[in-house]
């Protein structure tokens, strides 16, 4: 039923999925919360209300995706999002284990893979410069309690 040609507006369908699934999650995960009444709201009243509204919006968006103005999802390139996300996750994973200096270096090197036209030499130099500058700026100048080498 949802063959590619039936969906005229792709962004709308994507939006419908995002919002609809969130609304569903809100309802399902919020099931055990007490709803109470309008006059005496329980902790679940408002979240469930909002979840239902989200689902309603998602349904409207699905309808619109079938009959609305044709539109495609534009410009999805794999490189940027994959490498930026991996770089940030690496940062989160490494920072408290091996300290800021090396973490920053690794994060930047990985991040530069998100762009196509950087040579390996440029990567390393950039990573060295930026990680040094970060340590100087955040630990020494701004006095943030970050460990530079090694675990916290």
């Amino acid at each position: 039923m949802f063959g590619k040609d039936r969906i005229r507006n792709q962004p709308d369908l994507l939006a419908a999925l995002l919002f609809g699934l969130s609304g569903l999650a809100g309802l399902i995960l919020g099931w055990p919360l007490a709803s109470g009444t309008a006059a005496a709201m329980g902790s679940g009243y408002f979240p469930k209300l909002v979840s239902w509204l989200l689902i309603a919006a998602a349904v409207a968006l699905v309808v619109r995706s079938l009959i609305g103005t044709p539109e495609k999802i534009t410009l999805v390139r794999v490189r940027p999002i994959v490498f930026i996300v991996i770089a940030a996750l690496l940062f989160a994973f490494l920072l408290e284990r091996i300290g800021l200096a090396v973490t920053a270096f690794v994060t930047i090197v990985v991040a530069t893979f998100a762009a196509r036209d950087i040579s390996h030499v440029q990567r390393v130099i950039l990573a060295l410069v930026l990680s040094t500058a970060s340590v100087v700026l955040f630990v020494y100048a701004l006095q943030q309690p970050l460990s530079v080498w090694g675990p916290r």
Partner: protein, 498 residues
């Protein structure tokens, strides 16, 4: 009003406040010039560091970043045809053409001076409107606040670029995410999965950085295919008498348009500049020049966007209701300092209120100096290839967001909402409504709960009280008007800048 402004000035010219003003102006211009890093992400980034600062200094700096970015964004728009800031998109059209005609210096000058005029007028307007707004708010109770927020959200919908339905959904999602944590009554744990780290909810600074900072980087990398851009030499910073004559009208009109549109919830700099361009084109005796280097096409929008950037603080400072993403973040900054935004701030902390307003005058003056004579500095920044900039932005975001609570969790939040923000972008959904929902959600719930308590579960309480009823009717009328076919077309035109 004058004594209040003088009080404000006396506080704003203290050495440390001046320093923070300068810092805000410089940072604002810098990020306005750099594509990909906008005022929202930057303010979010600096938010955690404001905890240790004096409240007035923090607000001065953050506000300076916002209207500073309007100045910086026009520099790139004129010289490189790349808007560093959303509101500068309009300036690209005629501003860059002027640069190509060898009149870059003139364009920069009219942009800066027009913005200065607008900034000063807007500051005076804020000072004049503050008391009336605040006294109106004295009559407000829970139902009125709830209705006001609904009006605000409706206006944010109407004035948002793109689909209103998606903006509604984004707001709702923001509200839902905002419910994560312990409920206001203290009894229920919502969506916390038993993890204590979630009891306080999801911090908006991390969310803002993910959705606006990281997503910008990713989007930019998807589009840009390296290559250095050609930067036009600036030439003389000069306006001929003819230029001045032609610019006067647009500057005044732009200031008026921007000041009004900025106050409206959901308004802000971008809308101001788009509306001004449309007006100038209609009003001009030489409409065919627009798009070919008409100075009016730079003077009007640049004044409008600066006026709007400043008046957008009025709802927050007087009513305690933020009208756009930036004021939502500033509200966050006030909350961090333990200041509850609302009509009382004006009377209980006059130095804070008037000091901030006075600092906007000072900031605008600083910005003219920063942007005109010192424009060479920014040109050097523009020459930096984006490949060097984006890792810098990324690592600064990561460290900054970690520093909020010395917690890896915040970094994970940032990444999560970067992904959510990316999906939303692909779905042609704006991020600002989400942020607005996230920040306003808890308040919205509280006012709803109290109103229902007052009305014993009967929703008619919103209609029985006159102010509240008026607000709700206004919201409904706005929605109907916005959905009317002719208005829809005008919206689309305004947002595609045609």
């Amino acid at each position: 009003m004058i004594e209040n402004l003088l009080l404000g000035l006396s506080v704003a010219v203290s050495p440390s406040n001046l320093l923070f003003c300068l810092f805000g102006a410089l940072v604002g211009t810098l990020i306005g010039v750099i594509p990909g890093l906008g005022p929202t992400a930057t303010i979010a980034l600096l938010l955690p560091f404001t905890y240790t600062l004096d409240p007035l200094a923090a607000l001065i700096m953050l506000a300076g970043i916002y209207y500073g970015s309007q100045y910086g964004g026009s520099t790139t728009a004129i010289l490189v045809n790349m808007p560093g800031e959303v509101s500068a998109v309009i300036t690209c059209i005629d501003g860059h053409k002027m640069a190509l005609q060898g009149r870059a210096g003139t364009a920069l000058t009219v942009a800066a001076l027009g913005s200065l005029f607008a900034g000063c007028v807007a500051t005076i307007l804020i000072a004049a409107w503050a008391k009336p707004f605040a006294s109106l708010a004295q009559k407000f109770s829970s139902p009125e606040y709830f209705s006001l927020m609904i009006v605000g959200l409706v206006m944010a919908l109407v004035l948002a670029a793109g689909s209103m339905l998606k903006a509604v959904a984004a707001i709702l999602l923001g509200i839902l995410v905002g419910t994560i944590g312990i409920d206001p009554g203290g009894s229920g744990y919502r969506y916390t999965f038993g993890q204590p780290i979630l009891f306080d909810g999801i911090g908006f600074a991390a969310v803002a950085m993910g959705m606006f900072g990281i997503v910008e980087i990713i989007s930019h990398l998807e589009e840009v295919h390296s290559g250095k851009q050609r930067i036009i030499p600036v030439g003389r910073l000069w306006m001929s008498l003819e230029d001045v004559k032609r610019s006067l009208g647009p500057v005044v009109r732009g200031t008026a348009i921007g000041s009004v549109l900025g106050i409206l919830p959901g308004g802000g700099a971008a809308l101001g500049s788009f509306a001004s361009y449309a007006v100038e084109k209609k009003v001009s005796r030489r409409p065919e020049e627009f798009g070919n280097g008409a100075i009016e096409g730079v003077a009007g929008p640049e004044s409008a966007n600066n006026a709007a950037a400043q008046t957008s603080f009025i709802p927050l400072l007087t009513l305690g209701v933020p009208s756009n993403g930036i004021s939502a973040l500033l509200m966050g900054a006030m909350l961090i300092q333990g200041i509850a935004p609302g009509p009382n701030v004006m009377t209980s902390k006059p130095e804070l209120f008037w000091g901030l307003i006075a600092s906007m005058l000072i900031g605008n003056l600083m910005l003219v100096v920063i942007n005109l004579p010192l424009v060479g500095m920014w040109i050097r920044v523009l020459r930096l290839p984006y490949n060097y900039l984006f890792p810098t932005v990324l690592i600064v975001c990561c460290i900054g967001v970690y520093s909020i609570n010395n917690s890896i969790f915040e970094v994970l939040i940032m990444v999560t909402f970067a992904v959510v923000g990316y999906i939303m972008r692909k779905a042609n959904c704006e991020g600002a409504p989400f942020l607005l929902g996230l920040v306003l959600g808890p308040q919205l719930e509280e006012y709803l709960r109290r109103s229902m308590l007052m009305g014993q579960g009967d929703p008619s309480i919103f209609f029985l009280r006159p102010i509240s009823a008026g607000l709700i009717i206004a919201a409904i009328v706005l929605l109907i008007v916005a959905l009317a076919p002719t208005v829809r077309r005008t919206r689309e035109e305004a947002f595609t800048g045609s």
